[in-house]
């Protein structure tokens, strides 16, 4: 059925269009600037809307040379992306497996103190601990996980799998019938075998949702790398690199480089999002409400 064209509907469309303009105006601005040659930016005191000599020099400069090259032979952006990927993926994947196993135990098997432990987890999870995000540095520095070992606080805690992730997966597992597990157990499959061959394939969407939620968080995370890895150029992450871009390219008229770097930093997630937007929205929406 075709909907009627009414004034109200046109108005709604107009407002949404306006909001889209508000959201994309900044992104288009930096996209534009990233193509403008440096010398034109340096000489102009006004915003340069257009140039006859638009080029990709800013992007080339980012990949051409910066001080990170001396260290590893890789430009900062590439090194940053590499570090971001392993620092995000290793704890994320291991943590998901651990949280999955824990959720599986809580959902499908029986063990001493099960109910009590679960209640304890629920209570402890409800405490908002965000305020300790920075002061935790004191703890990690006391156990020597700063400086050279600054990657440890980013790597190790995540490997234990979050309680929230465990709750989310447990809820999903509860919806999966016990009969498959029972059948597998009768065939002689143990705890881990059941998890790997029965639960994991069945709960793929739940794991995937949590994976996306965690990946976006890890990719964009700035506070923790800044706290623990700031003075360790070898472990620079993508976001740290972006936050340093001004000091890496301090010359006048380097704004095109900053804009190009911001675009390059945003691009990977936006591209992945465009292909998997359905899963993204589901993953973030369900990953957020974790109880």
């Amino acid at each position: 059925m075709k909907k009627k064209l009414t004034l109200g509907r046109v108005l709604i469309f107009a407002v949404l269009l306006l909001y889209t303009a508000f959201l994309f105006f900044p992104i288009i601005t930096i996209l534009l600037t990233s193509f403008i040659p440096s010398n034109e930016l340096a000489t102009s005191t006004d915003f340069v809307w257009w140039s006859a000599h638009m080029n990709l020099d800013a992007y080339k400069t980012i990949f051409a040379y910066d001080s990170y090259m001396d260290l590893t032979g890789l430009p900062g952006l590439v090194l940053g992306l590499f570090n971001t990927l392993w620092l995000t993926l290793v704890p994320l994947i291991l943590g998901l497996l651990v949280a999955g196993l824990s959720a599986y135990a809580f959902s499908k098997s029986d063990f001493p103190f099960k109910e009590k432990l679960f209640k304890f987890s629920v209570i402890i999870r409800a405490i908002p601990l965000g305020a300790f995000g920075v002061i935790s540095y004191v703890f990690y520095s006391a156990i020597g996980w700063t400086g050279e070992n600054g990657f440890m606080p980013l790597l190790i805690p995540g490997m234990f799998g979050g309680i929230a992730t465990m709750f989310f997966l447990r809820l999903y597992f509860d919806g999966i019938s016990n009969s498959l597990i029972e059948a597998a157990t009768l065939d002689g499959a143990g705890f881990f075998r059941c998890f790997k061959d029965v639960m994991l394939p069945l709960a793929k969407p739940a794991f995937f949702a949590q994976f996306i939620f965690g990946f976006v968080g890890g990719y964009n995370s700035y506070l923790a790398p800044m706290l623990y890895l700031q003075n360790q150029p070898k472990y620079v992450t993508l976001q740290l690199y972006l936050s340093e871009i001004r000091s890496l390219f301090p010359n006048a008229g380097s704004e095109n480089i900053y804009c190009a770097a911001a675009i390059l930093g945003m691009l990977p997630l936006i591209l992945i999002y465009c292909f998997l937007q359905k899963y993204f929205i589901e993953g973030i929406a369900t990953g957020g409400v974790k109880e």
Binding site: F47, V48, P128, A131, F139, I163, Y222
Partner: protein, 321 residues
Amino acid sequence: MAKKTLQNKKKWRKEHYLALIVACLPLLGFVIFNGFPLIISFIGMFCNVDLYDLSNIQWNNFEGFKSVFIPGHANELFYFDLSKYFYKAVIITAWIASTQLVTLGISMFIATLLHEKPYGAKLFQILFFIPYICSTVAVSLMWRWILDMDGGILNSILGTNTDWLHDTKTITWCVIIATIWQAPGYGIVMYKAAFSNINNALYEAAEIDGANAWQKFRNVTLPGISPTTFFLLQAGVMAGLLTYDLAALIIPDAWGSVGGVESMGLTLMRLVHYLINNSTTSDANGVSYMVSCACVISWLLFLVTGVISVILFNRREKSVK
């Protein structure tokens, strides 16, 4: 009761203990990596803790509390008046946190419009989510260029020559506008899901009773989405109170030099970071006291966020019923 005694009599085998260990792992990680920082920062409020030798802990006679709360007290310990910056940071943090209400309003408004199923609703929803997945670092680079005094697009459009990022009158607004640009995407998705969960029969009933669009919104939609509202409010206020990234990235040099610019980009988390950072890089006398002050501010933030969480959580539970 009968079930419980039965369970107690159950014989636990090896595999049950295996399940117990596996089940406890996330809890164990949580307790280790949150419990110890909690304990150390609690001790740190009352004692000077040597970060490199935890056996060296000395009672500091509430110096941390005094330096944070009593104006002028820190002058003797540090080279600046901490409490002045603390009270300033409290105001700025509260201000930034309160803009979450604006974010919430925008989310609800846009989601309501999307729920009317306009042309291209699907495409709009996809587009509206994009700012949310952009990193705060890239977003801050973007806004710094837009708000730049020389060559920034905002001054060019308005025909002004305002130094948005350094003028004390506009500096906090820079953080707020970037937050409002980035944050609503999440709320829009959540509200959209909440709207589609409202029972259509309620709208039909309201229509039969002769309710107009506003009455329907007021009496059916608003109560229907209130659990989501409280959830978003809780998450949003929390994020606002703990603002670090955007404030530090958009206004990086404002707080860096104490006694320099009388900055407005200072949030409580930035103050904590400043104290920690300074205590590890310098070896002045007041160093351990700085950590102590950082602990005090962290615990204060923890208590405030905790109380707000509990209140909003209870409201949410009530609204579910």
